[in-house]
């Protein structure tokens, strides 16, 4: 079976940070339409700080996730600090002991991240938040794996569902957060958090696929 080695895979987080920083202006612009226009700035600040501390360190993926999550939780504040902070520290805790992450553990990791977000925020799917990208992406990944598809194929399904989920937020009316102030006027624009979440998941999938290896046992 295919797996993602934990050790030395910390650079996946560097890639995620790069994508977020590239999308800084875009994410703020989306947030500006129905929020306060700081989502890209908030995200780029936190992911940038984490990237500085990861670069050149040969970190495991779990260590890099933990570092990123901790930076978000301890240095960013607001709502995104705890929400994404919880997601990444839950990712880290789930895979911490494992040398290799197979599709099942990967699914468990994603689910733990989702649980972390829901434990701390109180949003539900359909509230026009990042959950609307994350939750269907996890469902799609799990469905692919239990249907017998490969880890690679599961990741492809993950990305497609995340982006479909992101797009679904366009017509939603925000039920939580700053945009909910606007009521019906919040419809017609993408959600900023769902957009950043789709960016994160696409790069996570790309980095994972690039590092997937065959299990020693399987090869033998």
């Amino acid at each position: 079976m295919r797996h993602l080695p934990n050790g030395s895979s910390g650079d996946i987080v560097l890639g995620i940070a790069e994508r977020i920083i590239e999308n800084r202006a875009y994410l703020s612009e989306i947030d500006g339409k129905i929020g306060d226009g700081d989502h890209g700035v908030n995200m780029a600040k936190g992911f940038g700080i984490a990237a500085e501390r990861i670069r050149g360190k040969d970190m495991s993926l779990s260590a890099a996730f933990d570092l990123l999550g901790t930076v978000l939780m301890t240095e960013i504040g607001g709502s995104m600090g705890p929400l994404y902070g919880m997601m990444f520290t839950e990712f880290a805790e789930t895979i911490a002991g494992a040398a290799a992450i197979d599709a099942a553990l990967f699914a468990k990791m994603l689910t733990a991240g989702l649980g972390g977000i829901q434990a701390i925020g109180s949003a539900k799917v359909g509230d026009k938040t990042l959950l609307d990208a994350l939750a269907p992406a996890i469902t799609a990944f799990e469905a692919a794996i239990s249907a017998g598809r490969s880890f690679d194929q599961g990741l492809d399904a993950l990305v497609i569902a995340a982006e479909k989920g992101r797009d679904s937020t366009k017509d939603m009316v925000a039920k939580i957060g700053r945009a909910s102030r606007l009521g019906a006027r919040s419809a017609g624009v993408l959600d900023a958090g769902a957009s950043s979440c789709a960016v994160i998941l696409r790069e996570l999938a790309r980095g994972t696929k690039a590092r997937l290896a065959n299990d020693v046992e399987t090869v033998r």
Partner: protein, 331 residues
């Protein structure tokens, strides 16, 4: 923006620097976390630590309430944005004297999440943080959903009573219970006449048309229950008192404390004009006013408007209100 600022992205840093210089006898910034303000006296042996935290832009809240017999520390967020979990945790750690710490804060999504995580961080180190969440703003949810209401200027009473109870040497649970009682006995309402501008954004973050007012507005411009034509201060004051007291439903003869706060750009004489009508309405309902606080106690940058908080006081709360304090924001 006709304002005294430097870099719009550094308003919080610049404010804290000037604040600490002015009040160095009472408080300072934590050597471990520049976003934590700690009382010079803290931690005090045998005393429960009392902390709060929240977004900046509400000065003198939250930092101005740090001092003897009040708050021991405050976690400081960006303008209108929750402090980090780490700052809440560092604030608690800085003031813990082994009796535990109570965090008395307002009901906002970011603050709820960050405090929750701070509790987790603290628990790992064997430090217990009890919490009370203020939800005194009557217009932010119906009475049946009181838990959804925002915390506003009633927090000042919560801090005063909780801080005084801790100063009396009460246990963590006793301090928590008293602060909870204080905020349970508070009802508040805000009326906005003019918006405010986050310096980094550069334009007002909501609109109040001239000639109108927004009744029930929140401290960050959260929309109120209605927008109506601006009326006389006598009518506005009476309606503010009526809304708060209708929600409160106190028996005639009950004693209350009153706090009227400007939102940042409303001059004191107008708050006195409002008070005239507010106290008349309170008296008309047969309530006895123990004490009135009027000034800029909990603001929203340069928003024009005012909030009213009425707290029902029993003998314990009266005693705690009367205790001397030494903090920048209270007389």
């Amino acid at each position: 923006m006709q304002r005294f600022i430097n870099n719009p992205d550094e308003v919080v840093e610049d404010t804290l620097r000037g604040f600490v210089k002015a009040h160095a006898d009472i408080l300072g910034v934590s050597p471990e976390n520049p976003r934590v303000v700690v009382a010079a006296s803290a931690p005090i042996a045998g005393k429960v630590g009392v902390i709060t935290g929240g977004g900046s832009g509400h000065e003198p809240a939250f930092i101005g309430y740090v001092g003897r017999n009040m708050l021991d520390a405050v976690a400081v967020g960006e303008l209108f944005s929750s402090p980090t979990a780490k700052s809440f945790f560092d604030a608690a750690k800085a003031v813990d004297a082994g009796k535990g710490v109570v965090c008395l804060y307002g009901n906002y999504a970011g603050d709820n999440m960050n405090v929750k995580m701070a509790i987790k961080l603290a628990a790992k180190q064997g430090l217990e943080i009890a919490t009370v969440v203020a939800n005194d703003d009557v217009c932010s949810a119906p009475p049946s959903e009181r838990g959804k209401r925002r915390g506003v200027a009633g927090e000042v009473f919560m801090w005063k009573c909780g801080g005084a109870r801790a100063a009396e040497g009460a246990s963590l649970e006793e301090v928590r219970a008293t602060a909870q009682k204080a905020i349970d006995h508070c009802r508040s309402i805000g009326v906005g006449l003019g918006p405010c501008t986050l310096p980094a954004v550069g334009h007002p973050n909501f609109v109040i048309e001239p000639g109108t007012m927004e009744v029930g507005i929140g401290h960050h411009g959260e929309p109120g229950v209605r927008i109506e034509p601006l009326r006389t201060a006598a009518e506005v004051g009476r309606d503010m008192a009526a809304t708060v007291l209708d929600d409160h439903d106190l028996p005639a003869g009950a004693h209350v404390a009153v706090l009227i706060s400007g939102l940042g750009a409303t001059p004191l004489n107008e708050l006195y004009i409002l008070n005239d009508a507010i106290e008349s309405e309170i008296a008309r309902r047969g309530l006895a006013i123990e004490r009135t606080y009027i000034g800029n106690y909990f603001t929203s940058l340069e928003m024009v408007g005012a909030t009213l908080t009425v707290m029902a006081v029993d003998d314990e709360l009266k005693r705690l209100l009367d205790m001397d304090v030494h903090c920048p924001a209270l007389p």
